[in-house]
Symmetry: C2
Subunit: 733 residues, 2 copies
């Protein structure tokens, strides 16, 4: 009986949820937020600038008048870009109306929405056939959802300004039909609306937000709990599925920030409209973890170039929006405030003014970036990405180690790959994607063919390829079945940070195991990276390990013969066809040293070599008829005809090359010798000797990982005992 | 009789010049300056930082103690770098002694000078044979002069601290022998000391400055008026000879700022010691003109890459020093103050504190950069360099046009070459020099062989090469005999800036004439560059005009067939051997369009084409066994077997490619068509048609240049009358 009453009360609460109460605006901007902006914006120069930018956009749009073209073009084309700009402009005008009270802004929004309401019922599917989920206003429904998210906010701001009959006309002709089309316009749209995918997030946000504005409980519930309203899909299910427990988004950082935008936007609206759902507390604050994971996946203000990715600044508008909303709903996190300070731009909204005000109060704050491990997979058991940092200041060294699942359609075949940043620069990097955004002459602004033939291939990454093949033979269905495993990671000691991963499925019958350590050695100004890559194959194989580096070659310890007057591609397929073979050499002795300059520093790759080692220098650009590839260079360590091999390398930043003041210092590597003392299924033991005569042993455990387990290793007759998965032993000579 | 008395009085004034009065310090730092620094440095955070940097250097040096190695190495090697650091460190300590009064600093300077005084008499010539003017402390006497300039300042600061006997020891064993060695240690040094060359400037400054400190009139007079003290050489003669009347330094901006350092340093000392010489007023303020000319030869805070040049920031210490001294001695020039604000760093000296104080008083000031013409040659009649700017803000378009004399040993064979900067980026650029500064493994830190085989060659520049040969056949003796001529330049109308140059000697029997105009057309957001390059040859020839561009190719209007799986060098010699031929095509029709992205903008090269036009895409790196060349790309316009040809091209910046906010706009060129309507010895007439249907005619006069002359040209039956050397006619259709 009591329970029934409770349910009844709950139902009452839900039925009178604020959106139905008729309060407007109450989305990203609320009445309280408007008052805050009116009162405080003059105090924050940065916020004032963001507001001025918005005003400039709105004013210019109003000068040009309302133009709503009939959809025709794809991304980059006129009608696409115009309909895209329209949503931004009407949203800007709507916000300006609220802040200034100037009815001209509201009139502009009304007129534009009336135009769209007149147009929309006349539209069939978009003429472009390129997308499997064709939209009406746009060539893909995704863009339609993004349009509706913005239009819902704009509508909310002018809701009380517009007459009831106009509202009825808009809702009947535009908003309900569009929400209907997105949720269930056809089987493809229905599938996307209920799919665990960033396109689904946009669809949910669009439908939920217009539902809140119109006070339509049905639309809101479908957005939150899926078409069946049973929680089997919808926004909350996406919060369960799309992020790992550490907040990692499986497609990688570039799509992470894109997906996070509707997640955070819709969450803020839910928070305003249904605070009782505590959306930001959901799944132990998964949205906050996702914001943090995105920020951690950056260097020098740019997201890591992993999977399909173009350079993307933390200053991009979508990240500004997510960070402002995060700060507003969790003002305790001073790291995010520091990111907001760096962005120097705000979402003109409750969240934005709140963040701007916090920055006026707070002095420059604590460390933003740290070493971090981000597990992959909804349960956090599908490998992950490790980020090792040499420090928290801008310019500190940073190593990324990727041992995740495939990452859906935007994933690359890059298991156990690493990237290295230092001194504010990309030193050893991933290529990212091959794409020219919205440039029609470049594959219609979409990914170029070379994204598949090069950028996704294993040889394009700083990881192992075997027999000139791609991991998983380049088959996404197979790759998506598996993930790498993280054996352990330990960043507790800033002077010795270690992560180890294993990949057993990328090449049938081959086990790849990579252990990377960022080690701060006495006498060296900077940490070095020790890289142990064990390959255990069945039959004899050709094993390639590339390091794509930026900069100019200054020294090699061996004859690296450069091809003077003839260049040919390194191979025929799997990405090898895109590499010009520029130089090749066979190091004599047991170590090969390769030095280059990047920016104002020198970098060394010292690697173990033997009689079977070949070092090749390559450059992208072969078999690239459309000039789609950037010209980038790498060296490839190659071992031929071996059933197993362990690559042992040290990456060492050193010295100073200051062209401004003409100071060159510390040119020489301080690593004088690498030795592989033991390499069994149990342990790998490496000695790093320095030029000052000191040396150390690094012992990596290769199996039976256990941070508490006691181990005994005998090295050159000495017995070494330690606990855990690795050990650094400083030697005195 | 009266004249005799006047001479006698002048002699008296000279004899009691302040240096002999025993006032110390009185070089870059004076007693008054010390008081200013003590009083004001805390008020300027930037000056405080410069002072703190100096203190850090001095303190660290004192921690490490005095180490004076016996000279052995060349640039980049230990003894070279250590003896170089020593002068900076003793100078830092000496300044700190004056400012803080802490005698430990003075003691350190004394100890170091005593060490050098002990070492110097034991030294023969430096073991390295690489320089024709071997030094004792360094492999070339130049470095010895630089050492002495700093040591003189240091000695001056601690002069009163050191005992008379110590001073005597230092002067007898170090300063007099070194000054003697620099002035006349051997015939080579004697020649350099009296040579019109930046090495001579350093030698004069060194000898003059130590002369002032020691109160030695003989040394000072030799420095000012040459070994013969008759004004036939020495500092004042250099002021006459090394700069053009516009302040242009013939070797180009990179060596300009290096030469300016001792010029300004020594001038400040002369001003302090012998103000009656009015050194800054000499030759109508030639030193100020030189400072201004240096600043004008910069873009986005970096000097132009012309002749032998590495990237060089306006923030480099030598430029900081020159700008501070310029500001102190001409505080009216607010442009220089703005450069000092940008530098955010000061010379810890009278000039530095004075500049820092001025910045505290002055609000951010007027325009620093402008369109400018800088004549070359002591009399200003040896051609010159033109700098055309689209505006004064950072990021405004900037075109350089070089039609100078050769530029001594650092000159390139680049007559009539252009470079183009926009949006803060190098868009079409010179390669600069092939050099890795002070890196021993790279040609001992000096210019690499490719500096001669590539960087200096004509094909490495954005100008014409004929029959795959270098201008002047790459013979510096021949090239140094001639200079290009500037026909006219007119920057009076910001919307139509034009310069024209002629070169008649680079290829025997061939006349090269280039007219470039920066034109702001209605309807275009940015100015375009119209480039008319007329080649009049006797016999039929192969004519190449390259444009080396930075960025990614996005569009070509013609089939530019890229070599998929085989690259070969373009040629065998004269720089052609260093170019990989990446792609080639023959445009159909009368216009060829080539579009690329650089940073966040698109750039178009639209060029007139005919059935004989070949367009090739090339990349540096062939025949480069030591990896000395950077990988850079260019397109080459080639006409074969023609006795004459006029290249007509438009460079057009447009649109926006904003990866941060994913906005792509204005991809398409607005230049729809170029037509060459007339091309005679008298006039060239070109029509530029725009996509909006508008068009304009540009008429360039090719002979009989006269800004006041009235001209009549008939174009398509219409008679056009105008005055001067060029005309822009807007057409209505």
């Amino acid at each position: 009986m009591k329970i029934k009453i409770l349910f009844f009360l709950l139902f009452l609460v839900a039925a009178v949820m604020p959106c139905i109460s008729g309060t407007h605006p109450n989305m990203l901007l609320t009445r309280a937020g408007v008052r805050e902006i009116q009162k405080w914006s003059d105090r924050s120069p940065a916020f004032r600038k963001s507001l001025a930018d918005l005003k400039r956009m709105a004013d210019l749009a109003m000068q040009n008048g309302v133009v709503v073209p009939v959809p025709k073009d794809e991304g980059g084309g006129y009608t696409h870009e115009k309909n895209k700009n329209n949503y931004a402009e009407m949203n800007a005008a709507a916000i300006l109306y609220q802040i200034t009270g100037d009815k001209a802004y509201a009139g502009f929004v009304r007129d534009m929405l009336m135009e769209y309401a007149g147009l929309y019922p006349t539209l069939g599917l978009h003429p472009s056939l390129r997308s499997s989920t064709r939209g009406k206003l746009f060539w893909q429904t995704l863009n339609e959802s993004v349009w509706l998210v913005h239009a819902a906010c704009a509508y909310d701001c002018v809701y009380d300004f517009i007459s009831a009959s106009e509202r009825q006309y808009m809702e009947e002709n535009l908003f309900y039909p569009m929400a209907g089309f997105i949720t269930n316009g056809n089987p493809e749209n229905y599938a996307v609306f209920n799919k665990m995918h960033n396109h689904g997030t946009w669809a949910n946000a669009a439908v939920g937000m217009i539902g809140y504005v119109m006070g339509d409980r049905n639309l809101v519930d479908m957005a939150l709990y899926g078409s069946l309203k049973d929680g089997s899909s919808g926004f909350f299910k996406q919060l369960d599925q799309l992020f790992s427990p550490d907040g990692y988004f499986t497609e990688g950082p570039y799509y992470h920030r894109y997906a996070l935008w509707p997640f955070m936007t819709f969450a803020q609206v839910i928070q305003n409209q249904q605070p009782e759902l505590d959306v930001f507390g959901y799944r132990e604050g998964i949205l906050f973890k996702a914001v943090d994971a995105m920020i951690q996946q950056s260097y020098n203000g740019e997201l890591f170039l992993l999977n399909d990715a173009l350079p993307k600044s933390l200053k991009s508008k979508d990240i500004v929006s997510s960070v402002d909303i995060a700060v507003k709903n969790n003002p305790e996190n001073k790291s995010w405030l520091e990111v907001a300070r760096y962005q120097d731009d705000f979402l003109v909204s409750d969240a934005g003014i709140s963040t701007a005000r916090a920055l006026l109060r707070e002095k420059p704050g604590p460390v933003v970036l740290r070493s971090a491990f981000l597990s992959d997979g909804p349960a956090g058991d599908a490998g992950g990405i490790a980020i090792l940092r040499g420090g928290s200041r801008t310019g500190s060294a940073c190593l990324t180690f990727k041992a995740t699942s495939h990452g859906l359609s935007h994933g690359h075949y890059d298991k156990l790959s690493l990237s290295f940043y230092d001194n504010g620069n990309r030193v050893i990097t991933d290529y990212g994607s091959s794409r020219f955004l919205n440039i029609e002459s470049k594959s219609g602004g979409n990914y170029t063919p070379e994204n598949y033939t090069w950028a996704m291939q294993s040889i394009a990454h700083n990881t192992v390829s075997i027999n000139e093949k791609c991991q998983f033979d380049g088959n996404i269905k197979v790759s998506s079945r598996y993930h790498s495993d993280i054996n352990y990671h330990d960043f507790s000691d800033p002077s010795l940070q270690v992560v180890s991963g294993t990949e057993k499925n990328a090449f049938p019958g081959v086990t790849l195991q990579r252990t990377v350590a960022m080690i701060r050695l006495p006498g060296l100004g900077d940490p070095v990276v020790l890289d142990l890559f064990r390959v255990r194959s069945g039959p004899e194989a050709l094993i390639d390990l590339p390091f794509y580096f930026n900069g100019d070659v200054v020294f090699t310890s061996f004859v690296l013969a450069k091809n003077r007057d003839l260049l040919k591609p390194l191979g025929k397929e799997n990405g090898y066809q895109h590499l010009w073979l520029e130089a090749s050499g066979r190091p004599a002795g047991t170590n090969a040293v390769f030095t280059w300059i990047n920016g104002s520093r020198f970098y060394n790759l010292t690697t173990l070599s033997d009689s079977g080692t070949q070092v090749m220098m390559v450059r992208t650009g072969a078999n690239d008829p459309e000039f789609n590839l950037r010209s980038e260079q790498g060296i490839i360590l190659r071992q031929s005809g071996v059933a197993q091999h362990t690559f042992v390398s040290v990456i060492e930043p050193h010295g100073l090359y200051d062209l401004t003041n003409e100071v060159t210092a510390g040119i020489r590597s301080q690593v004088s010798r690498l030795q592989l003392l033991e390499d069994t299924e149990l342990n790998t033991v490496v000695r790093i000797a320095l030029a000052d005569g000191s040396s150390c042993l690094f012992i990596a455990v290769n199996a039976d990982f256990d941070a508490d387990k006691r181990r005994t290793v005998t090295v050159e007759g000495d017995t070494i005992q330690f606990k855990g998965n690795f050990q650094l032993v400083k030697e005195t000579i």
